[in-house]
Amino acid sequence: MADKISILIVDDEDSVRDSLLNWFLEDGYEVEAAENAKKALQLLEERNFNIILADIKMPGMDGLELHRRIRSLNRETIVIIMTAFASVETAVQALKDGAFDYVTKPFDPDDLSHLIRNAASQIALRNENEALKERVTTLEEVDDIIGHSEAIVRVLQHIESVAQSNASVIITGESGTGKELVARAIHANSSRKYFPMISVHCGALTESLLESELFGHEKGAFTGATFNRKGRFEMADGGTIFLDEIATISPKMQIELLRVLETKSFVRVGGNREITSDFRVICATNRDLAAMVRNGTFREDLYYRLNVVNIDIPPLRERTDDIPLLVNHFIRKYCTSMSRDLITIEPSALKHLEKFEFPGNVRELENMIERAIVIGNGREIKLKDLPLGAETPENSVESLDELEKRHIEQILLKYNWNISRSARALSVDRVTLYNKIKKYDLRQKE
């Protein structure tokens, strides 16, 4: 670590500069020296230093003023103020201004070593912190949203443009299209990224449970509330709350949610203290909220409050160009997590995947690839490893009419041409079935 730390010594006394320069060189640091504040600022224009040791009493600009200038240039630099005259006032002022430490000349060698070691530790911690933040961001960034199709590029552009704002977002898309992933990408690219993103799956909770989950509860609020509990809105303070399946919440919860969104304050269940929280709301649904507003099952005011920005994620069948990329991504993901060598996919299997409808979207494709890696031969994913059904559109040359005819024939055969039972199985009335039999000229075989 020592060889990476750079130190600048600023002192008008030659002997002090030379002694410290030599001392730090022996310690393996990268050192430069300046005889006054002006020279130091010139050096700082050319490069950065991790640590600056500045004398407090120098002709011209003194150490405190130099420190203020350094802080305005680079807040990361650690400044240690040195003085030959111990003065509590100047020490306090230096520390108030953000100096790392204050030392009186001459120093004990051990104190100097400790001082620099502490400063170096702080630099190392800060670097580590930066690296971790970077890693957290990278983990949740748009890298997880795979694809280069026009549709997905549009989604990525939306994410980029809305991330920095505080606007509420509704993410719409079929089940399995990656709505939560988009929400995470928005959060990870926003200024709220160092605060939590709290997810609530509204559809999985009853009204009373959702209320307690969102607002928290006080001890004794209801049977089983044996302790105080923070709600999700409180936990999301500074960050983002992601409300999945928003269309499923009850009319009562819709009113409560609207009030919270308007005031950013709420009361825990069973409590009477108003709690405020600064959160951003991102919602997701696979239903048509506008239609729900029209038929009166979703509040119009809440809809407009939530729907400041709408990001619609296309189903996988509308972006089949992305399937090869997604397949490779999932192969890499699961081979790595299973500690296996990377495998490939046979071209015909990939072709079948590109033709498949994927009603479960990307999630279904991901599950398919994971399953194929588990049950496959460990070298290549083959068509037989994929649960695509016996017939895929690639193999079928039949028209819709032909398919219908064959299906009706099979059902009639199964129910021994019992029209009532066959019609029930086909979910049509008897008249329709008779018409279809007539249309396709189906006859019972002897």
Partner: protein
């Protein structure tokens, strides 16, 4: 090695022998009769290490690859309260003092073996700096930084493999 403090011949021989073993070089010991009074700082009651370091080449008429002055007096440099020794990194000169290596200074019983061991380590350490070696994080390496006498006891008297390879790759070695 310039003996600037009437050291016992046997003591000097052991120190120079250890240096020869470590750096595989010949060590010549010369007596130096430098008047130290100009280097004394009455306010600090110590001797100015910076000025002494610059003065030692004048104490010998011979040409040496490296010169280290061994003193008995308490050394300081303006910014530090004391030093065990100092050197100019990658250059010819170094100084060391036994003053703060003595057990008696810390209220302990005199121990000549400990003093010899500490002096050997300090001299090898300062000479290491003249060969361009910086402080090492290896606990047993003689180039580990020591700011207390007890810390000198914890490390060994030899270069660690890493410092040794840096020393051997020094292009200025004759």
């Amino acid at each position: 090695m310039l003996s600037c403090g009437s050291f016992d011949r046997g003591f000097l021989k052991k120190v120079s022998g250890a240096v020869e073993d470590e750096y595989r070089c010949q060590v010549i010991t010369e007596e130096c009769h430098l008047d130290l009074s100009p280097y004394y700082n009455p306010a600090r009651r110590q001797y100015d290490g910076d000025r002494l370091l610059n003065q030692i080449p004048a104490c010998t008429t011979s040409e040496y690859f490296k010169i280290i002055g061994l003193f008995r007096v308490d050394l300081y440099i303006p910014i530090l309260t004391y030093i065990f020794g100092q050197a100019i990194l990658g250059r010819q000169l170094a100084i060391a003092s036994v003053f703060r290596l003595r057990n008696e200074l810390y209220g302990l019983k005199q121990d000549d073996d400990i003093l010899l061991s500490r002096t050997i380590k300090e001299v090898i350490h300062e000479l290491g700096h003249t060969f361009g070696l910086v402080h090492c994080h290896n606990l047993s390496c003689v180039m580990r930084s020591s700011t207390y006498a007890e810390e000198i006891d914890l490390k060994g008297a030899a270069l660690c493999p890493s410092c040794r390879s840096i020393y051997l790759s020094n292009p200025t070695l004759p």
